[in-house]
């Protein structure tokens, strides 16, 4: 169990995919203009990462060494298509706003990276822990980025995802001063680079402060 916790925490803190490893940037930047998208994308990534890690580490002995990458890609693509079909049917607006970035999880450096570096060499339990760790790490980072971007960009946060899924009420609040004239740059594409760049610098600074 200890190794499970260690793997899990490693995914979030030390090797947080987005800020430290700088992996999987494409979805993080592209869809993080609203919290809805971030939640949807994180759920999709965690699901795909978990399933593909389990399958790949289970079948790691029979996969021919030469054809490693193509097999991993096909397995991941299958799970991504599954997620796309489910999203299309049950959460159509989220599917619309994620656009081509949902299928692009297939070539996302996180999932392929973990599959290649970790899952194909370790037992199933280890890869589950690693998948959850990295997935949650990615989710937390993506939610942090999109929270900042949506808050600053549109002056408020509105989550309508749960409304479609379990038709619970949609949570939304707006900052008093901001909602009249929000800083729309944060919602546009340059804002994404800005937020991630500053957050990375912040994490590096904290990292440096900790060990010196």
């Amino acid at each position: 169990m200890a190794s499970f916790a260690k793997e899990f925490s490693k995914g979030i803190g030390v090797s947080n995919p987005i800020f430290i490893l700088a992996l999987g940037l494409c979805p993080a930047l592209a869809v993080s203009y609203s919290l809805d998208n971030a939640l949807g994308m994180s759920a999709a990534v965690i699901f795909v990462l978990l399933c593909s890690n389990v399958i790949i580490s289970a079948a790691r002995k029979i996969v021919p060494k030469i054809m490693r990458i193509p097999t991993f890609i096909v397995i991941i693509a299958t799970f991504v298509t599954l997620v796309t079909l489910v999203f299309q049917a049950y959460v159509p607006t989220l599917y619309q706003s994620l656009g081509i970035y949902l299928p692009l999880i297939v070539v996302n450096c996180i999932i392929l990276g973990r599959a290649e570096a970790f899952a194909s060499k370790n037992p199933v339990i280890g890869s589950i822990a690693d998948a959850l760790g990295i997935g949650v790490g990615f989710a937390l980072a993506l939610i942090l980025i999109s929270f900042l971007r949506e808050l600053l960009g549109t002056g408020g946060i509105s989550i309508s995802l749960f409304e479609q899924l379990f038709n619970a009420g949609s949570l939304s609040f707006t900052l008093p001063a901001f909602s009249e004239h929000p800083l729309t740059i944060f919602v546009l594409s340059p804002g994404a680079f800005l937020v991630i760049g500053l957050l990375m610098a912040l994490f590096k600074w904290i990292g440096r402060k900790k060990n010196d």
């Binding site: 096909v74 693509a77 049917a89 049950y90 159509p92 619309q96 656009g99 929000p182 919602v187």
Partner: protein, 179 residues
């Protein structure tokens, strides 16, 4: 024999994986697409109810894709789907007509406009202006119509206006043709 098998084992392995994935996906797709159709149908019904409160039945005319709306037997209006190409994607609009000239109202079903700028077309401020308008009055104020577009979102509002007007005119011809 085994040496040949070992040589082409990788190819067989990947083909097996592709086979499994293809069958699995096609199998699940048949479920989810049924669910998708049901959900879409249900959403259109809901929107129509909100637009025509007294509606109790609707006839879907296959070829012209126009819903003829009935209440207690006679037609109280028509409805159809119009699609406009907005700033960053398609905009699906449900348009309701009272008769062959006046627009009962419109509802934006789906859009991908830039949040905070383009997506204000879903607000009642914009869609409300279409209610009760004559079809050829569906235009910008400066082009002789009665709709003022949204500041900073001209492309999105223009997409909606053009889609509603052109599809309405086209559908009206079809409806008159049928009657």
């Amino acid at each position: 024999m085994p040496s040949l098998l070992r040589k082409i084992y990788p190819i067989l392995f990947v083909t097996l994986i592709v086979f499994i994935s293809v069958t699995l996906l096609i199998f699940t797709e048949s479920f989810t697409s049924a669910e998708l159709q049901a959900r879409l149908q249900q959403q259109v019904e809901e929107e129509l109810e909100s637009m025509f409160p007294e509606l109790d039945d609707s006839v879907d005319n296959e070829d012209s894709e126009v819903y003829t709306l009935l209440a207690g037997g006679e037609t109280i209006g028509y409805a159809f789907l119009a699609v406009g190409t907005g700033y960053s994607g398609d905009i699906a609009i449900l348009v309701g007509l009272e008769d062959s000239e006046t627009v009962k109202g419109i509802i934006i079903l789906s859009q991908q406009e830039t949040p905070g700028i383009g997506d204000r077309i879903t607000g009642d401020g914009f869609t409300g202006q279409f209610t009760g308008l004559n079809i050829d009055a569906v235009n910008f104020k400066q082009d002789g119509g009665q709709i003022d577009g949204l500041a900073m979102a001209t492309i999105s509002s223009e997409a909606v206006i053009d889609a509603v007007r052109d599809t309405a005119m086209e559908k009206v011809k079809l409806i008159e043709g049928v009657e």
